[in-house]
Every structure is written in structure tokens, then in C-alpha cells.
Subunit: 236 residues, 2 copies
């Protein structure tokens, strides 16, 4: 945690905030901060700044906060991700949030196991918790939108095919071109499941105007490939 | 597992190999392959190809293998990595092996907790197991060299400063230039611990001819940053 994220309701109009529970334990035991210390803070959905610990009891810390800085800029990047295994999803939400992706859409694909859709990892409280870890890592305060589309075809045909404002890429080992570097402007990037998109899905992406790009001859795990593609495109 | 890695001693001169234990369970239960099926195989340190399952008992599968293909090429890239937390080290060894790094040197740094050096994750059998996962993921057969240097200064001054053949980079949020894309030729890249290199270490890298590069204004976890840097440089 490089920044302590506070909820707006936690903060008084004069900038005072109480910190208790797991956040208190983290600040005290991991960051080693207590009365008199200062730390980086941010308001979820708002600005960021610094806080001084002005009171400390066994149950809570009182912070006096100043929010004088905007959150780091986000590139206009949307990620469409075939739903990964739940433990991988949890890690990826944090990685991708930290990298500054603006919108994440979790979608179905032929090689996604149906049982993943019933996982508690998709409950909004769990998604929010992992997004929050990513924000606190990157000193960001603005969460990405996270959405779910359980039917791939209508999502691609009705929502994505008309996104002519954005450069649209789909990552696949069969891709015709190497993944480009430092692409400017709005971007939609689709990343498939372990084992890749099936041919009918690749046809769907092509018809919707997505360029197919690859990362070389090695088959990478989704986790590696996703971070690699975003980094090459210049996200983060 | 996209390729089943066999030890040379497991394979008869005529290409027959017995598969038992955890590999058998994986082939049968995860890959769903048994008598009559074919699968991708490779010899650890050697070539790769295909195998047919020609016999199947409860305890073992017998494969008839043909090794007719070289392993995927590796870029001449060496990674110097400040020893991460043991669970992160395990994952990173697999990621980095899959990406095709040729040599990995785990080193000390002021922000590496001393206790990490006592972890079983550094035992050679554990390192080999995670390297193997990375090879089997990327259909590779040639493991990277993994080495350990517990003293950073003599390693940098005596071994790395004279590596004039290679472009030498050190990743740090304080870096003067954005991490470049698709760098050709031999490369040494140093990636620090969570929290980054301390100033005296950055001085050491600079004196040894390392260019300091950054990944933008966001603070990323070592796991994210390492994959991101390698992907930008064109490794994988």
C-alpha cells in the first residue's frame, strides 16, 4: 500500500478521518506508522494528498488530511478479458487497475469454464477489494469501471463493432502482426482465455474491426500476456 | 502445461518413455489424454516434438516420442532481480522462464528482507520446479541459468561493469527515460525490490554504465513491473 484510500463518508469537512479495522492494522504493522507520522492518502473517486496521524488509540487512528493533488492520469484504454480462473482474476484486477486501465469488461468465451461465472470472485464486494489494492499500489484514487458481459457475440457486434473512435486490437498467438508499442489515443484491447480464442471468436473480432496481434512464438499464461500487451501498448 | 517435459534419462534410445507420478495425473486429468492420444513433448535441455500414448496402465503411460523441432529461440537477455518475497519469486520464475530470459541472477538489495534468503523457495529443487512450469507453459526445453549473488556491490562492480557487449538498463521509478521498446542485441536489465533501489544502489548502477529507465508515474508491484519491462524491451 503506497497510499491509504479513504471513503468520502469517512472524512469530516475539516479533513479529519478515523482509521480502524484492517486499515489500522496495515498502517501500524506493515507501514510502521503511528502518532506523529505522515502518510499518503486519497479519497476514493476524488483527490489525493497527505495526512498526519494526530491521535492514536488501541482501536483507531485519527488523521488530519490535505488533498492537494489530482490522481495520476489514466489512458483511454478499455480491456475486454475472457473471464480467467478466480485466483487469477483477483490478481489481474489489481495489476490492471494499478496500470491505469479505464474500463474492464469480463466476458465469456468458448474456453472459459462455465463454473467460473458462479465464483464469489465476481461479487461486487470482492471486485472492489481487488480494485482497491491496485489503486492503493499505484497511488490512484479513481477506480476503473468493471462490467460483465456473459454473451460474447452481442457484446462484440452491438457494442464494440461501432467503436470507430478507438483502435481495436485482439491479442492471440495466431495474430498477423507483432503487438505494437506506445499506441496513442483511445484503445480497446481484447485478451482471450488460457488456450486462446476459438476460430469462430477470432472471426467475430475480425468482423468487428479488431486487428489481431501476437506476442511472439511463446505461449504465455493469460496473466503474463495481459501485462505484457498493456505494457507494450504504453499503458502504465 | 502445453508441452510435457521429459528428463533425458526417461527416454529409451528408440524414443520410448514412461510417464508416472504427478505428470501422469496431469496428462490424464488436466489434459484429458490417454491411450491413442498425441501430445507435445520435449527433452529437458534438448529438442521438442510429439508423442503418441502407446500403452496405458493405472500406474504409467508409455509414450513413443519423435523429437524433430528445436526449442523456441531465446533473446540474449539477462535479468538481475532483487530477491522478491518467496511466493512472488515462485510465480516470477515461471513468468520469466516462459518469456525466454536466458539468465536470471537473484541479488541482494537494501530493501530485500534478510529472512527471504533462508526461504525454501531458493532450494535448487524448488527453483527447478518453477522453471519447469515456465518451460512447459512456453513449449520450451532449455532452462535459463539461475544464479545467486548475495553481495550486490562486488557483483555489479566486478561482473556487470565490464559487460560492454550488452546494453545495460536498470528499472526504477526515478528513471530519466521511458523504458524503450524492442531493443536489439544483448541486454542486461536490473529490476529492484518493492520500494525500489536505494540511492546508493542507483549510484552503483550508474557507475557501472546502467541507464535508468522508468515505466511512467504509477508505482507498480515488482511482478507487474518486471513483466512490463521485459515485454517493452521485446523479450517473449
Amino acid at each position: 500500500m503506497n497510499l491509504l484510500l479513504l471513503d468520502p463518508a469517512q472524512i469530516d469537512p475539516d479533513g479529519r478521518a478515523q482509521v480502524a479495522g484492517p486499515a489500522l492494522v496495515h498502517v501500524r504493522e506493515v507501514l510502521g506508522k503511528d502518532l506523529g507520522a505522515t502518510l499518503r492518502v486519497g479519497v476514493l473517486g476524488g483527490r489525493r494528498g497527505h495526512a498526519a496521524v494526530v491521535a492514536s488509540t488501541r482501536e483507531a487512528l485519527e488523521l488530519m488530511c490535505t488533498f492537494d493533488e489530482d490522481s495520476p492520469p489514466k489512458r483511454p484504454v478499455e480491456l475486454v478479458l475472457a473471464l480467467p480462473r478466480p485466483p487469477v482474476l483477483r490478481r489481474l484486477l489489481a495489476h490492471v487497475t494499478a496500470m491505469g486501465v479505464q474500463r474492464i469488461v469480463l466476458c465469456h468465451s468458448a474456453r472459459v469454464e462455465k463454473s467460473y461465472w458462479g465464483s464469489p470472485a465476481l461479487h461486487s464486494a470482492e471486485i472492489d477489494a481487488h480494485v482497491r489494492l491496485g489503486l492503493e499500489q499505484a497511488c490512484d484514487t479513481i477506480p476503473p469501471q468493471v462490467e460483465i458481459r456473459m454473451k460474447l457475440r452481442p457484446f462484440v457486434e452491438d457494442e464494440l463493432a461501432s467503436r470507430l473512435d478507438a483502435r481495436r486490437l485482439v491479442a492471440d498467438p495466431t495474430g498477423g502482426a507483432a503487438c505494437p508499442c506506445d499506441v496513442e489515443g483511445p484503445l480497446v484491447i481484447a485478451v482471450g482465455p488460457e488456450g486462446g480464442w476459438v476460430p469462430v471468436e477470432l472471426g467475430l473480432w475480425a468482423e468487428a474491426g479488431f486487428e489481431c496481434v501476437h506476442l511472439g512464438p511463446r505461449i504465455l499464461r493469460v496473466e503474463t500476456a495481459l501485462i505484457a500487451v498493456l505494457a507494450r501498448l504504453g499503458v502504465a
